[in-house]
Symmetry: D2
Subunit: 356 residues, 4 copies
């Protein structure tokens, strides 16, 4: 409880506030004997760092330290603790937010729950919290790679501009990590970037949609009732701040189709003729590619003046300074991958207990 842990067998606990001494994670249950280097964690953290002009200008090196659980380059089976210190913290930026409830933020609900809050950069509610997830996800990805499972996410929509689908000829896997928005087609990416720059100039922000695929997921992952693969994956995705919607496979469109149109069938064992379901049926992976899509609302921290109230209940105009993303799209990609990896790693281990 407390809600800072995720997973049953491959379990991660994260900690840290945006402007406290540091953030990090403890991964408990990673199997022993896995080769793991600090560089693999650094690489994922680097993907999460602010990049283009529409990301936060906070410049954190995000230099992780492995505190435990790895010895001579291999996981020990004991908990792997990773610490990322906050270095470019400017808590003074937030003094004007101390007594004001920011629109679109959890400030007031947090106070209703806990009685008071750390107002500096959102405290524990900051998107900076995901740094611990990405570090943990890097370990999960490494474990999954040893099982041949591969995860890839990208920005499929940003500021209202939609990228082509994977079946579209314009979709380019190699383009994804080559443009600042992590979109799979450059022209659209440029249009979206232009729109985001415009919103920035207006002191406003944008939303986005992230798509994710996991390949080589063995069939049968997931538990058939409450801990369905999609249920757990949904919990993982909605646990990322700002996520407001999710679809597996055909998603909402499936509600409009008929059984004869949408039923996935096999042509031979493990070979599916279609994948409307997005790789999961009855809560179990089918062996087809796991496919889902996640929608993020626009970043709520905007510099445009907003009307709100303060702790005394008085109306007040708020201008948020600090350093904020305009659109989380590029940085959300490694976070979605990390959470996907944590879910799959857990189920891969759990699968070992299914048969007598």
């Amino acid at each position: 409880m407390g809600g800072n842990s995720f997973g049953d067998l491959f379990k991660v606990t994260t900690f840290g506030e945006s402007h406290g001494p540091g953030l990090g994670c403890v991964v408990d249950g990673c199997p022993a004997g896995l080769n793991l280097s600090l560089d693999e964690i650094k690489r994922e953290l680097a993907r999460r760092r602010p990049g283009g002009g529409f990301s936060s200008s906070r410049n954190e090196g995000d230099d992780p330290e492995i505190l435990s659980g790895v010895y001579e380059g291999k996981t020990l089976g004991s908990p792997i603790a990773i610490l990322i210190r906050n270095r470019d913290s400017q808590p003074g930026d937030y003094d004007n937010l101390k007594d004001v409830y920011r629109p679109g933020h959890a400030d007031w609900p947090w106070e209703a729950k806990y009685g008071f809050r750390d107002h500096r950069g959102g405290g524990r509610s900051s998107a900076r919290e995901t740094v611990g997830r990405v570090a943990a996800g890097a370990i999960a990805k490494k474990f999954l790679a040893s099982q041949k499972i591969e995860i890839r996410a990208w920005t499929s929509e940003a500021a209202g501009f939609c990228a082509p689908g994977e079946s579209d000829a314009a979709f380019d896997w190699n383009e994804i990590e080559n443009n600042p928005l992590r979109m799979p087609e450059r022209t659209i990416a440029e249009k979206a970037m232009k729109k985001i720059e415009d919103l920035k100039a207006l002191g406003d922000s944008a939303g986005c949609v992230i798509s994710c695929i996991a390949r080589n997921v063995p069939p049968g992952l997931g538990e058939p009732v409450f801990d369905k693969l999609d249920a757990r994956m949904a919990a993982a995705m909605f646990s990322i701040g700002a996520v407001k919607a999710m679809e597996f496979g055909d998603g909402f469109a499936a509600a409009k189709g008929t059984g004869s149109e949408l039923n996935d069938a096999m042509s031979s064992p493990g070979v599916w003729k279609t994948n409307h379901s997005g790789g999961v049926i009855g809560g179990l992976s089918t062996g087809a590619a796991l496919r889902f899509t996640v929608a993020f609302k626009p970043v709520p921290s905007i510099s445009k003046p907003q009307e709100t109230i303060n702790r005394r209940g008085e109306k007040t105009e708020l201008i948020i300074r600090g350093r904020h993303d305009i659109c989380v799209a590029p940085r959300a990609v490694p976070v979605v991958e990390a959470m996907c990896a944590l879910v799959l790693a857990d189920f891969v281990l759990l699968q070992r207990a299914a048969k007598s």
Copy 2:
């Protein structure tokens, strides 16, 4: 693990196969001293029973028995076990499915996971499994009622026909339980029913979308990181078979908006000027109405001939007999409410531990 339990403090475990001796639930953690009658459970189960011509013709009385945890009409604090026996089971209907993998079903993934399966009516993967959820949800609803929290769901789309939204004048709360599809507007309901009858005649099936609102949810419910209120609610909803998509508040549309358009702000403490977020921000309830929407794919069991393979890997044509829903819409409504109630009951109890 095994995945047949849900919740931390208000915890339900369900059991039972579609054509075994019976199904049921054990609710552990329901506070002591709550007035609870068998009729309250029966009433919810009756709402879940097959109704109109497009529901399964299986006619189960769904007569629950409380085996434990209630004494002299009050909950004891000990586990409440409820048993619903299968009486109108016709397992012989399923003999032709024993060696065939039904399209759109988890037959093959189940075998991949467990080595063999109970093919009779889907076994544990049957929608009949939800009978235990609804019984447990009835208890959760009773507890929530004692906290003034009220939950209502309805069919907002069926077979492609969309009902008006709540802000629309045509939306009628009283209509919901008055038509077989549980839609809030009769004309649309009749069109959708006609379409579903047509699909039935063709041996096909339809999907639907269920909407849900919870009112009087106190602010601050949920845990701010992994166990966000929306994360747990998403896990609850995607744990219902056939769910493929979910939205909170503005959902996917939020990805297209800007911060200045979508940021919810308060006009006085606890009074929100807008509710784009659907009553949850940063994983915590805001005190505004909790609003979400869930999409169900079409029922995969259709009588239309389908091509698939059998256990020997041979191609075969399948005609599913048995008794099946054409559209789950009306019966999914109490299931969505039940799962919503389980999530909220858990968080109401958890909330008591938040402050020192």
Copy 3:
């Protein structure tokens, strides 16, 4: 929470009050494909039933019904629910206990916790609660047998009479199930039985010590920090009502020895020269026999008059009628075995996730 579940991967939930409609268990996480018959469960329940003159005269057939999770004689991987109805319930026996706090019982703490209680035979706090544990333990034993792990418990002390130790020539494995106290030596058993009969005549009761051995436990079971094999086993044993003490291996005597006397060493891999540790070091099984001992206090329900207070705080004299054991020794044996089996089954499954 609520505390009616035990185990992580092989998880049991029990339910039921002493004089309610019935008791039982739900086992979630038992691997699929295990052969399981009703007779195997009946056999263990029969061992738990009242036997000799010093056991309760309540005569329950303890006729279990498997409600789910088993199909054609094999476990499905879905939850196995078992129901045992209360048939020989005589709740009227307990009318005089309704407003009185029985000495040595949890009546008053229960009311302090929950506000009211089911006074009939102790309600959920009754030793009858163990019927669900024994049913679940029968399944765990069956699973462990498939792994060659064998568990045996016996009464090593009753009413102050101590049986010989296993290394003693007088210890007879075959004698255990042949005398009503389940002691491994007949002469001592007869003396103890005589003593217990005398106590019964006086309206008093006796305590006992149960010893348990598990053989062929593979090395490395357990988790090295909080979920040590001995920690989990201790939780299992102290979760049995009336248990007041426990020792592994040399137990309290170990506190008086020296390292050079008590350090267990191997002569070849997996072959231990001594077993002072009782088969567990650093929380992990060593591969030597797992050995522990559990002490039960005397049965608190005695017919001898006792001074206590009632709900109005008035002093009162209490004479407990009802039907009660004088000494739990013989019936505690299968309960200890059942809980030991549940712990080991859980760790056997967990072990599968230890290595990469």
Copy 4:
């Protein structure tokens, strides 16, 4: 799982190896708004540090850093992470242990489980692991103090010398923290210390027994079936390395008594005439003092030559150098208190969910 977390609502996760970069804990679920200073954590860690001549000469400052969860001297409700760096690590001391299985240690079971190990000072299995528990326990103690609950432990036996019981006139609460063994009577403490010095000279080690009392525990703490207060406390205690036995109240002596002798009764509500049960009946606290006793085996690391085998299965003579305690007695006292505090803090929070 992985087993490095403890507790449900007040949950601690520990991490760290004896000779890795550092150790620590993450406490998730500590209620918000609790005053907490670094000094309170330092004070408990100082009590755990090596002291007299019979403790390890490893001289760690054990200087904790609070990484998160505390803001302006108050707990935030978010996870509290604490890091203690290893500074006086001399891993070279352990080179000769790399390929040898130390008697009385978990070296071989660890390898059987995980495939390889960190041999330096026992790695994760080191008693140094308890530093994270004591830091977490300091927070739990602070929370319990706010509830008026007080915990005190002491050495009641060391190297075979037994201290007087609390009811004995010679028992002196003030003496406990005044002698290096934390015994409540100086003459016995001096005899025990002399004995321990003698064992040290012989290259040998000693065991001990720690007693613990918690006062002002409200009645009804604990859950009546598997999560009994004593069951959870036993799990907590047996999770401490080297613990081999435990008693509540009269413990093993209870097995020899009769119901009429041992049944605790009240003279008025909450006032118990006797406390044979040690403050817990039926798994629930009675409101009387919670009393238990825990036995530790002798420290297995001894400098006396021992016969064992190496990784190639060859017999070898082992002389353990490194820096080791001769008797854990004084240092085990704060560890027992810490674990007791973690259990009680968890149940205090859980209690809030018991009534409707």
